[in-house]
Symmetry: C2
Subunit: 727 residues, 2 copies
């Protein structure tokens, strides 16, 4: 992990990012002689912590700044400058960026606030800054950001409060990207308290140029960074984030993210805080799952996970062996593990006997293994117990549970360290109570250590989820999509000036993507309805058909289960009257063969402003209404992804077939979801929203059938821009 060059990334920004992330020379434009002022801090930090490159204070009025020779301008500096930290007022910043461009400096960090986050005049200043960036070609981090720490080289173009005091810094494979400055700094500080090895800490600020997604992409393309922590408030270029996530996923580099905006209050606060769009939380949640981003609730969970991911170890299975000084702690760990999908299984008798032979008779060799309190006086029990656990072939990971025992901790830690060094399986410790010194010592040895079993279990669960993630899908376009037919439907609708398609046209559209609907006939009169019903045979539904009526049920526009000519005729006449009363003069009717009542799904597609076209699935009927049980994925998805999406629904046991029903046709449902997701991706310029609801799901082998569909067209066929401008 010594090479530093980011691999070339598709956007060609690799070289600039490399010089931002690993600068060998940093100019501080507007460096103050006062080390406590914001504009004095970057220099102070780099002096104190010992930046290994050149520090270049730029100050037109001083020959020396904080004891270092200063330059009156960038032009006076000889040799390359990798990075300029611009510590001027918002008004002066755009010019300074142009100066960087003239001087050939590839990257700059803008610390000043007073841009778009303030509104008003600040918005204009940010536009000026953006223009300067575009004209100069300088890549800029910020504005309104605290800057960056590159731990290995002690490159610290930052005025974060986290370096106020002399703290021991731990270098390592974990990068931390934060859209919040102050809070990010606090969390960085905690990471150092926990001895988590950090490669970089970056605060993104207003992201006028470099977005959190592009920075994340750059980080995962360095050799040093093996894990990325991300505190996110709002992502502008969602698709780029997903590209970076996909690359990280393939490279076995986990992204662990806190994303605010789960609640309305949180989303509003994030928005007012950084002028960023928090976005639809369900969409973020869905695409994060889809792309292997591990979403956690807060910084402690993020750092808990970082401790274990920083070891670089992976799991081959979910089986945890716990060795405990206390039966109580072991029982609690077993509960906590189960809640996180980690298994604490009883060992088989042969292995129990092996373990029993090295632990006290009143202990338990079953797993959770109770080594008993004797352990504290006889650390050899722990040593031998760990040895047996490491030999045990069905132990995928080990948790050691201890507590207090400060004065006996050295030998216990030694036993753990020996075991940890002799395996590539994850070993974690829960050490509750006492002074905390043993915990800190273990972390210094690179052994994750927690105070509470539940937090250790949560971190192990995330490691299991990531280690055992499914392979990245190779997107495959379903066969038999009739692009021409789909275009035809849309062209007709556009020509007729429609804003939405009626059910029949919507049905034709999804049919072009291979999605079957219940047989139906559009008709114009009650007589035609009777004829169509005869032709279809059996019970029929009659529905109002108009592109001016969205939710026809709401106005009583649907009649179900009509079995004879009289009732069809009566229903048809009735519906046409309703349409007239609603001033829908051109309404027609759809006569549709009734499908047997069955498990109901809904599948929707829509264009998310952040992540572009997405597909939403859920159970229809009671489940979705009572529980809001739905899941989102970025479109398109292949059938494997669609199947996982469906199986991740809370009501997924319904696919197994309940109440005496045979299993449902999950394969068919997954295929239809994949097909509709293709439609979403192909037609994202034209289709604002399309709902298939219900989609009736038959028994295995019997497929699915759509019973209603409604497509809403985009208000203007846009250029497909899915990126919200970040001011």
């Amino acid at each position: 992990m010594t090479a530093t060059a980011p691999e070339q990334n598709p956007t060609g920004s690799g070289e600039a990012l490399r010089r931002l992330l690993y600068p060998r020379s940093i100019a501080i434009v507007g460096a103050s002689d006062n080390p406590t002022k914001l504009s004095g801090r970057p220099l102070d930090y780099m002096k104190r912590f010992g930046f290994t490159g050149r520090i270049l204070p730029i100050n037109p009025t001083r020959s020396h700044v904080q004891g270092l020779p200063a330059y009156r301008s960038l032009d006076e500096v000889e040799g390359d400058i990798d990075l300029a930290m611009i510590m001027l007022s918002a008004e002066q910043t755009a010019d300074a960026v142009r100066d960087c461009g003239s001087r050939g400096i590839p990257t700059a960090i803008v610390g000043a606030s007073g841009f778009a986050e303030l509104g008003g005049e600040g918005v204009a200043l940010q536009r000026r800054l953006k223009a300067a960036i575009e004209e100069s070609g300088v890549r800029v981090l910020g504005p309104n950001c605290l800057g960056m720490i590159a731990v290995r080289d002690r490159a610290m173009p930052t005025f974060t409060s986290a370096l106020d005091e002399d703290v021991p810094l731990t270098e390592g494979p974990v990068a931390f990207l934060s859209q919040s400055g102050a809070f990010g700094s606090f969390v960085f500080s905690e990471s150092q308290n926990l001895r988590i090895g950090i490669s970089h800490y970056l605060n993104t600020g207003n992201e006028v140029d470099l977005s959190v997604a592009e920075l994340l992409d750059g980080l995962v393309r360095t050799d040093q960074t093996q894990v990325v922590l991300a505190y996110l408030e709002g992502v502008s270029d969602g698709r780029r984030l997903l590209d970076a996530a996909r690359y990280a996923y393939a490279q076995d580099k986990p992204i662990i993210s806190v994303k605010v905006g789960r609640s309305t209050a949180g989303a509003t606060a994030a928005q007012s805080h950084t002028a960023s769009l928090a976005g639809d939380d369900a969409v973020f949640d869905g695409v994060a799952r889809q792309y292997g981003i591990l979403r956690v609730d807060g910084p402690e969970q993020m750092l808990d996970a970082a401790q274990i991911f920083a070891t670089g170890r992976r799991l081959r299975g979910r089986r945890l062996t716990t060795l405990s000084v206390s039966g109580g702690a072991g029982a609690l760990m077993a509960d906590a593990a189960a809640a996180r999908g980690v298994e604490v299984r009883a060992w088989d008798e042969t292995w129990q006997a092996k373990m029993a032979s090295v632990i006290p008779a009143y202990g338990s060799a079953r797993n959770p293994i109770d080594l008993t309190g004797t352990l504290v006086a006889e650390p050899d029990i722990l040593r031998r117990g760990l040895q047996v656990a490491l030999e045990h072939p069905e132990t995928d990971m080990i948790a050691v549970l201890l507590g207090c025992a400060d004065s006996q901790s050295a030998e216990l830690i030694d036993a753990i360290e020996v075991a940890n060094s002799s395996t590539d399986r994850p070993v974690v410790v829960v050490w509750t109570g006492g002074s905390g010194r043993p915990r800190q010592r273990l972390r210094e040895l690179g052994i994750p250590c927690y105070t509470d079993p539940g937090r250790a279990a949560a971190a192990l669960g995330l490691l299991a989820d990531f280690s055992l993630r499914p392979p990245l899908p190779t997107p495959q376009r379903p066969v038999g999509i009739d692009d021409a037919a789909a275009r035809d439907v849309l062209t007709q609708a556009r020509a007729a000036g429609r804003v939405q398609l009626d059910e029949y046209q919507s049905t034709r559209l999804i049919a072009a993507y291979g999605v079957p609907s219940a047989a139906s006939r559009p008709v114009g009169s009650a007589d035609e309805a009777v004829a169509a019903a005869n032709e279809l045979g059996g019970a029929v539904a009659v529905k109002l058909l108009s592109d001016r009526i969205g939710h026809k049920s709401d106005i009583g526009g649907v009649r179900l289960g009509l079995v004879d000519a009289d009732s069809v005729r009566e229903a048809a006449a009735d519906l046409l009257r309703i349409a007239r009363e609603a001033h829908v003069e051109d309404a027609r009717l759809l006569v549709q063969r009734m499908a047997a009542a069955d498990t109901e799904l809904f599948v929707g597609v829509k264009r998310d402003p952040v992540f572009g076209p997405v597909v939403v699935v859920g159970f229809g009927g009671v489940l979705v209404e009572a529980l809001a049980d739905s899941r989102v994925a970025a479109a398109p998805v292949d059938t494997d992804t669609a199947r996982r999406l469906l199986l991740s629904l809370r009501g997924s046991r319904l696919f197994g077939g309940l109440r005496g029903k045979p299993p449902r046709d999950l394969d068919a449902a997954a295929e239809i979801v994949a097909r509709l997701s293709c439609l979403a991706a192909d037609l994202s310029d034209d289709i604002a929203e399309l709902d298939v609801n219900p989609l009736l799901l038959g028994a295995k082998g019997h497929g699915v059938v759509a019973v209603d569909a409604l497509a809403v067209l985009s208000s203007a066929a846009s250029s497909g821009a899915t990126v919200v401008e970040r001011l």
Copy 2:
């Protein structure tokens, strides 16, 4: 909080418990001169920490023990002895307890292990100990326990490792009861690291005499203890626990509990650990909710809550105002709060203006309130912001979010302390990063402080749940219960040697409790079935009726929706044939009027081995099968409790009436649950289990109707013992 006498409790054990919890003289039987040996530690601890009462070492072979004058036997001691700590081998313990009894010592703690937890010979030793206890009348804590710490008086009859090192102890209103010794000690140690004020720490061990429930009851009856923390592995006398919880609830004393056994692995581990019965976790979970026990997942959550409950403050509402140095932290807090039922609402414009006048222009006065990083240099911003928040009438609680800033912390802490002292509303702090010293200082000032917003929000959520809990119900017996009719059904069944009631008899039984069923007629032949169907009118169901068939659907014993004589006759003949083929020669049939399809509930009652009769409710059909959505409460419950039980179901939105349906008759459902819970309580000796499934729930005002019921009789009419003997 200086008075110490427990109020008299119903069991009359108050005086003994008082002397256990507040001993003025402690004999240590078997005290060792070696302070590091287990039997030397209690004396060492009490000397070092300074027990305010008399320490009486009993050792037949030494004149002095650890420098204190020793006695050869208990009889040599003059004056009262409140408590004996027996540190002898398991074999010697029973005799020592008898000696205590002869000497008039009311209470003893038995530290030795080697009793029932070992099995074999240990079980016999525990029986001997139990006999000695019963004969001597001495109340005993243990055996196999670490003893007790009474913090105020430094009474420390314990050999817990938590006192190994000299730690500052904090006295206060929080008692901690633990069924795990080692783990309990670690958690006690953490509580002291967090400066949580503790009254007592007790480890219960094998509970041969004093159970965790009785100890809990004793603690909540002291003036000093205002909060109880309980680490539970298995409760033997469930009803006693509920009595104690009810008393605590009424006295405004929260019980915060970690209970292992959520998972099978955890339950098994707990069981093998202390030979205790973990019990049915869903039952514990249900009764805990019912009796206001705050169940948390692990020790950190328990201590997080204890920090805030130790302040004694309560909430009048759920509205949180957050004042933050970082917009990011505020946004995260808003999310975390929402997840815990705590509201971060935007302030109204008038109050926003007041706040805006005291904070920087680029901050946010909206709530979450962003005081901005300027705060660190100008602590007066925090001071003024807190002042406005305290004046704001819709602020029920305040969270201050800070980080790092060690060197500026004194003034910030002072501002918080001033605000905290001037209000009785809860004030908590989240201080992320930095050295941790500010956190510790705040805790020393009695101000709850956390590192992560999520943990603060969880603790505030628990405080809100407890503060705003519903009043304790005054149990009211529903009118119109026909005890004689119920007895009659059971007597007949017992006389006929039945083990279960058929559907018709089950229906009669619940009818006696005022639970309506769909109209039905028991018949013996196909002809009688046709006649009954005619009499009932409309569509009917025909079902096999036999007390030898439990789940008649499983053998095809139910025919639904029969509308004419032929189909009734055919179904009846068919069912009788099925019965004959199943060798149920005496089967009859039940002809039942079909009820309209509607929202389905199920209500079950059963006798739990720990908590006695309980009632279980859930939605029928898809929801219960797909989601296992059910809730449990100890019987009987009144209608208010029943309503809350129903509304706590995950699918509770169904009561509102979904898919165009009007709201359901929740009142009627609650009444029926209350009635069936009365049946459970009244007939707990006779009824092992009774299921009403489905109970069809009509629209508001239309009531409910049972469509099937099955009662299983107890194998022997027992004495109603619900207490499992704890060996």
